[in-house]
Amino acid sequence: MDLTLLTGYGFWNPLLWLAFLLIFGGISYFLWALRGNPAYKPGTEQVKPFISGNPEPAKDLVHIRARHIYWGFVEGLRGYYSFARKMHTGDVRDYALWYLGVGVVVLILLVGGI
C-alpha cells in the first residue's frame, strides 16, 4: 500500500518522517549517554530538592495544576479575554441573539448584494 500523500504542491510520507525520527532519536540518545553526569546517584540525598533548608512540601502541594499553566499568556491577553468572556454569558437568550444577529448580517450580504 502506498503511504505517500500527494498534496497538490508536494507530498507527505509518514515512513520518511519515522525514519528521520529514528535518526534524530538515536543522535539524541547518543548525546545524552555521552554527557550524562557519572556522579549522579538516584535515590540518595543528592537528588532531594534544596529549599534553603526548609522541609520539602508534600507532592500534592507543589503539583502544577491546570490553572497555573499559561497563566502569563492569559494575563498578557487580558483585554481579549475580557471581551471573549463577556461574549459567553451562558444565557440561552444571548445564544438566540447571536444567531439572529449573524442571520441578519448574512441576509444583508446576500440579498443586499454587498
Binding site: P14, R65, A84, Y95
Partner: protein, 527 residues
C-alpha cells in the same frame, strides 16, 4: 464488489434498511426496561448491523451508474422516480452519492463505538432503556439527514436528530447543569429548525416541490431564493457549531455523557453536511456566481478557529475544554469549504487549489469525527474514574490509567497536527490549499493549530503527569468495553495518519466529485 454476491432485492432496499433497522431497534429498546445489559447488547448489535449496512451501501453506490443510488419510498420499484403521468418526483426519495455514503459511514461507525463504550460507561445509570432507544433514534436522525433527497425530509430528520440529542445531553438530569445544557440545545435547535421550515416554505410556495434534485434545477437568482439560502446557511452553520453561534457547543458536549459527546460531534457534522448540500447542490446553480457565500463561511471559519482555541485555554472543566476545541476544528472545515465555494465560478482556481481545499475540508471532517470522539471518550473515562471534571483537581493519572493516557495522547497529538497522526495530513492539505487562495488564512490556521497543541499539552500535563494526588488514590483504569472503544478509535487515528491517500481515494475523492456534480444530481429531478 461485495454487493454482486448478495440477493438483488436486499441490495436494492439497502437505503431503506439502514434507516429501518435502527428505528426498529429504538422502538424495541424500551421493552428491555428491566434488563439494562440486554438493552446495551441490543444497541451494540443494531448499531453494528447499521455499520455493516453502511459499508454495503458504500459498495452499492460505487457499483451504481454515475456513483449515485436513488431510492423511492412507496413506488412499484425503488428506482422509479417519476410515476406515470408525472414529470417531476413527488414521492419521498433518498438520493445517495459519494458524499452521502461518506457521512453514512461516520454516522454508523461512531454510534456503534459509542454503544460499545456505553456498556461499561453507563452501567450504573438508571433508565438505560431510554438512553439506548434515544441513541438509536439519534442515529436514525443523522442517517436520514445525510441520505435524503427531499428538503422536507431533511427537516424531519434534523428534528429527530436534535430532539434525541437534546434528551441525551440532559440524560443525567440529576445534574442540574446537564438538564440546563439539554434545554439550551433544544431551545436553540428549535429556533433554527423553525427557520429551516420557513425556508422550505418559501421554496415550496414558489416551486411547488420539495425534491432537492428538482429544486436545484429551477432555483433562481431572486430575492426570495436568496432569503431562503441565507436562512438555511445561517441555521446549518449554527447547528454545526460555527462561531459566533457556537455557544451551545461547549454546554452540550460538556454535559452529555462521554459516548453521547462523541455522537454529538457527528451530529454537528451532519449539519455541516446539510450546509454543503445546500450550498453546492440545492443552490449550486446560483452560488457559483455568489463568492460572498464562500467568504461568509471563510470568516465564520476564521472566527471559530481562533475563538475556540483561545477560549479552551481558560476552561477548568475537562470536557468544556474539548468542546471549545471542537468549535476550533469546525472552523478548519468551514474555512476550507468556504474557499472551495468562493472559487466555484473560477474553473482555473477550482482546478488549481479549490478542489484540494474541498478534499482537505472533507478529509478533516473524517479525522475530526475520529479524534474528537477519541478525546471525548478519554476525557469521560477520566471523569468516570476520578469523579471530578475540574482539571485543577487532577494530576498524575497516567500512573493509574496508563491506557487511557496513551489514547488521550494520540487524540491530542492528532488534533494538534503532529505527524504521523491523522490530523496532520488533513491540516497539511488545508494549509496548502488555502495558502494558494489567501496566505493570511493559512497563517491563522497554523497559529490556531499551535495554540491547540499548546492547549492539549497543558491538559495532558495537568491531568496525566506529575505525582499521584492524594484525592485520586482510589482511581482505577476504565472498564474493558470503554478501553476497547477507545482503542478502536485510536487505531483509526493512527491508521488514517499513516494511509491518508488511501482514505482520500476511498472516501474523500468520490465525495468531492459528488459535491461538484450538480448536473448529475439534478438529473434525477425530472423535467
Amino acid at each position: 464488489m461485495i454487493v454482486e454476491y448478495l440477493p438483488q432485492q436486499f441490495v436494492q432496499n439497502l437505503p431503506a434498511l439502514i434507516i429501518a433497522i435502527p428505528l426498529l431497534g429504538a422502538f424495541i429498546a424500551p421493552l428491555l426496561k428491566k434488563h439494562g445489559r440486554a438493552a446495551a447488547g441490543w444497541t451494540v448489535a443494531i448499531t453494528g448491523v447499521a455499520f455493516l449496512l453502511a459499508i454495503l451501501l458504500m459498495d452499492y453506490v460505487r457499483a451504481s451508474q454515475g456513483g449515485m443510488v436513488v431510492y423511492v419510498f412507496g413506488a412499484d420499484s425503488p428506482g422509479l422516480t417519476l410515476p406515470s403521468g408525472y414529470t417531476v418526483p413527488v414521492r419521498i426519495m433518498f438520493q445517495i452519492d459519494g458524499l452521502g455514503v461518506l457521512m453514512a459511514f461516520l454516522c454508523t461507525l461512531l454510534p456503534f463505538l459509542a454503544a460499545v463504550y456505553s456498556v461499561g460507561f453507563a452501567r450504573k445509570e438508571t433508565g438505560l432503556e431510554k438512553y439506548y432507544a434515544l441513541m438509536m433514534l439519534m442515529t436514525v436522525g443523522m442517517l436520514g439527514m445525510v441520505l435524503t433527497g427531499d428538503i422536507f425530509n431533511l427537516f424531519v430528520f434534523l428534528e429527530i436528530n436534535s430532539i434525541a440529542g437534546a434528551a441525551l445531553v440532559g440524560f443525567r438530569n440529576y445534574r442540574g447543569e446537564a438538564a440546563e445544557a439539554g434545554f439550551k440545545y433544544i431551545a436553540i435547535s428549535a429556533f433554527g429548525a423553525l427557520m429551516v421550515l420557513f425556508s422550505i416554505g418559501i421554496l415550496y410556495g414558489k416551486y411547488g416541490n420539495l425534491n432537492i434534485a428538482y429544486l436545484s434545477g429551477v432555483i433562481e437568482y431572486s430575492r426570495l431564493d436568496l432569503i431562503a439560502l441565507g436562512l438555511l446557511l445561517t441555521t446549518f452553520a449554527l447547528k454545526c457549531g460555527a462561531a459566533p453561534m457556537h455557544h451551545w457547543v461547549p454546554d452540550a458536549y460538556g454535559e452529555a455523557p462521554g459516548s453521547i459527546s462523541m455522537m454529538m460531534v457527528i451530529s454537528s457534522l451532519s449539519s455541516l453536511y446539510a450546509l454543503i448540500r445546500v450550498c453546492f447542490i440545492l443552490f449550486g446553480g446560483i452560488v457559483i456566481s455568489l463568492p460572498a457565500v464562500g467568504w461568509i463561511l471563510i470568516i465564520m471559519g476564521l472566527i471559530s478557529m481562533l475563538l475556540g482555541a483561545t477560549m479552551s485555554l481558560i476552561q477548568k472543566d475537562i470536557k468544556r475544554f474539548i468542546g471549545y476545541q471542537a468549535v476550533s476544528q469546525t472552523g478548519y472545515m468551514v474555512m476550507a469549504i468556504g474557499v472551495g465555494l468562493a472559487v466555484m465560478g473560477d474553473p482555473v482556481a477550482m482546478q488549481t487549489y479549490g478542489r484540494n481545499a474541498l478534499t482537505a475540508g472533507l478529509f478533516h471532517l473524517i479525522n475530526d469525527a475520529i479524534y474528537m470522539g477519541l478525546l471525548f471518550l478519554a476525557a469521560s473515562a477520566v471523569i468516570y474514574a476520578a469523579r471530578t471534571r475540574n482539571m485543577d483537581e487532577m494530576g498524575g493519572l497516567a500512573r493509574k490509567m496508563p491506557y487511557t493516557a496513551v489514547f488521550f495522547l494520540i487524540g491530542a497529538a492528532s488534533i494538534g497536527g503532529l505527524p504521523p497522526f491523522s490530523g496532520f495530513a488533513s491540516k497539511l492539505l488545508i494549509y496548502e490549499s488555502v495558502f494558494a487562495f489567501n496566505p493570511v488564512l493559512a497563517v491563522v490556521a497554523m497559529v490556531t493549530s499551535i495554540i491547540a497543541l499548546a492547549a492539549f499539552a497543558k491538559q495532558f500535563a495537568a491531568v496525566f503527569l506529575g505525582p499521584p494526588l492524594s484525592n485520586l488514590k482510589r482511581v482505577r483504569e476504565s472498564p474493558r468495553s470503554m478501553l476497547i472503544a477507545m482503542a478502536v478509535v485510536a487505531f483509526l487515528t493512527v491508521l488514517f495518519g499513516l494511509y491518508p491517500q488511501l482514505v482520500i481515494d476511498w472516501l474523500v475523492r468520490p465525495a468531492v466529485e459528488a459535491m461538484l456534480n450538480l448536473a448529475g444530481y439534478g438529473a434525477w429531478g425530472g423535467a
